[in-house]
Amino acid sequence: MNASFMKRTIAAVAAVGALATGMGAAQAEDAKVGFVYVGPIGDHGWSYRHDIGRQAIESELGDAASTSYVESVPEGADAERVIRQMAQTGHNLIFTTSFGYMNPTEKVAKQFPNVKFEHATGYKRADNLSTYAARFYEGRYVAGVIAGKMTKSNVVGYVGSFPIPEVVRGINSFMMGAWSVNPDVKVKIVWANTWYDPGKEGDAAKALIDQGADIMVQHTDSPAPLQVAENRGVLGFGQASDMIKFAPKAQLTAIVDNWDKYYVARAKAVVDGTWESTDTWGGIDSGMVEMAPYTNMPADVKALAEETAAKISSGEFHPFTGPIYDQAGELRIKDGEVAEDGMLLGMDWYIKGIDAELPK
């Protein structure tokens, strides 16, 4: 057995080696696209939606593109190795899909000038390093309008991940949407300090419902808070993907991340040789932010939600239109002006009226 085992192992080793070199040569013109995910592709949220985008590349570009991914990569020392391994194994376009991958992506991008890198939600760019993100706050404003109409207790429960600008901006936008139709809405926020931990997220949701919340909003990636809402008979919003199958009676809508178009376009640009370093921040109008079907609400609320989304999409309305004051009462955005992207990207303050303290 030993001898045959050895023989077969050697044969297998040789085969893999030949395969690897063969692929590198044959597909030099084609796109070989790598994805680095922070969560499991089965999280039904953030990483799941990125993986749907990866599959879109495969189905749209066919033989011109091949893809691979590594899931649940910690945002520490490991990320750099995974990214470098992708660059070394012949990938010519690499998407790193979490903020914490920014510095490792930048480091590896410097060492592989011929490989194209795309980092989601960061701010460091280079000739071969693009950034991209979506204006999820637009969807959150729409969700806020719905919540303001639907709440009976006037208490909204909000499960946050980390108090970073992305999440703070979402809370502010959501509450401005809610107050636009119902000035009495209060928000209670629990920080789960994780992006993906169904247990913790669910516990946070339970605590919020126990405190009187009858609408559940989340900025974490698993369907757990929405499932808790379903079990407790309150309403809620899906996160990152349409989670209606987890909460057929509770989900009002979901803010869906749709990376498909962007990913396909970027992979195609590599195939065509037209890829350039860019900074993309797409909203509802670009299709990156989608609202899942409006369910479990009366027709008038649905109509209002659709109208709000349409106004944001057409540019007629911007959720962050002044006057906007912060909690200290300081005027941050002047009357009639809209917030600049730079301010939105670095937002680390709550708007006036939010009865909570931002963790510092």
């Binding site: 790598g34 691979s68 590594v70 945002e75 020392a77 490991d78 510092k360």
Partner: protein, 359 residues
């Protein structure tokens, strides 16, 4: 009826052979699982265990990944030998990173050659400080160190989160939760150009040798072994249990703190909300994989590191799910424990022995 009967004498060779046997059986079972997943088992095993270390860069990454695991596990093994169950190395690692990293952030524009040594010392002190709390609670109030050390882990990680979201946040970082990058003087020098192998890796080897000497040649090492194997005898000859608790928790904490500092001053280069993917917990497995012996731990750490690297490559090149990594680690631990049990016990079928006992 099947039952386990203690062996009067167990083979000394088996004690050292059982990890090897466990690894071999893991490979066989792993291959079978790959076959069921529709992959050629030889390709898959090759990708998992050989491809990651098939070039010098891969080997260097293996060392980088194993460095914190080995350093922490050597410290923990000392405690485990003396029945001190420090489960909170992850927290001690975090405190080490905070203490040592804090110095780098305070002197963020320093070019002093004393910065790095200062960080190393503070890192070890930070970890030891976090280990001292369970030691105090155990020796003073007889509080179970498994619980206290574990719970302090959450305190430490939340404290780090507070610091990088608040007072230590990079003022030029657009409010994102991360510290300033450490100055060059506060980064561990890379000892092999073109890789990430840093000074900490070299020090890990030193820790292994020092741990081995401590255990085999020193009086306190002897006491550790006796306290663990025969606590009553140890008490009888006057070895103080409390002193063992203090020593092992301070040492284990200090080494974990050092490992944490190596991570932030090495491959990461700054403080951020998450600095370790659970090295403090994985090191517990490494300690047992290495038979609580520093040299064994060196190999155990390398094997554990290899499963991570292999898991990543299996995803990239074969499209296997990330769960394969955890699966392999689980199978390995299962077989290791099974081999241990069978080394110390024999399986008896039938009920003759049971009858004998009731008679």
């Amino acid at each position: 009826m099947v039952r386990l009967e203690p062996r009067r004498q167990h083979s000394q060779a088996m004690v050292y052979l059982s990890p090897v046997l466990a690894i071999l059986m893991t490979l066989v079972v792993g291959g079978i699982i790959f076959a069921f997943m529709g992959k050629n088992p030889f390709d898959a095993l090759y990708t998992f265990f050989i491809l990651p270390i098939s070039n010098s860069y891969g080997i260097s990454e293996l060392f980088v990944k194993a460095t914190p695991l080995v350093i922490i596990a050597v410290g923990l093994a000392m405690g485990f030998r003396a029945n001190v169950w420090n489960i909170g190395a992850e927290g001690q690692l975090t405190m080490g990173a905070i203490f040592g990293g804090g110095l780098a952030l305070y002197f963020y524009d320093s070019e002093s050659m004393f910065l790095l040594p200062g960080m190393l010392i503070l890192g070890a002190l930070g970890g030891a400080f976090w280990g001292a709390i369970p030691a105090l609670l155990r020796t003073r109030f007889n509080a179970n160190e498994i619980l206290t050390s574990l719970m302090l882990t959450y305190v430490a990680t939340l404290f780090l989160s507070f610091l990088v979201h608040g007072p230590w946040r990079n003022p030029e970082g657009f409010n994102f939760p991360e510290s300033r990058p450490f100055p060059d003087a506060g980064l561990l020098p890379v000892i092999y150009d073109g890789t990430r192998v840093h000074l900490g890796t070299a020090l890990a080897v030193f820790v292994v040798i020092a741990g081995w000497l401590l255990l085999s040649k020193s009086v306190i090492g002897f006491q550790l072994r006796v306290v663990g194997k025969a606590p009553q005898a140890a008490r009888h000859v006057g070895f103080r249990q409390k002193r063992m608790v203090w020593f092992t928790l301070l040492l284990g904490g200090g080494l974990a703190g050092l490992a944490g500092l190596f991570e932030v001053a090495g491959p990461i280069g700054q403080l951020q909300p998450s600095i370790s993917p659970g090295y403090g917990f994985t090191a517990i497995i490494v300690a047992f994989l290495g038979r609580l012996h520093p040299v064994g731990i060196l190999f155990g750490g390398l094997i554990m590191a290899l499963t991570y690297l292999g898991g990543e490559l299996a995803q990239i090149t074969l499209g296997l799910p990330n769960a394969v990594t955890g699966l392999f680690q689980g199978i390995l631990l299962f077989f290791l424990l099974a081999c241990d049990v069978l080394t110390k016990y024999r399986i008896r079928f039938g009920s003759t022995a049971a009858k004998g006992r009731t008679a």
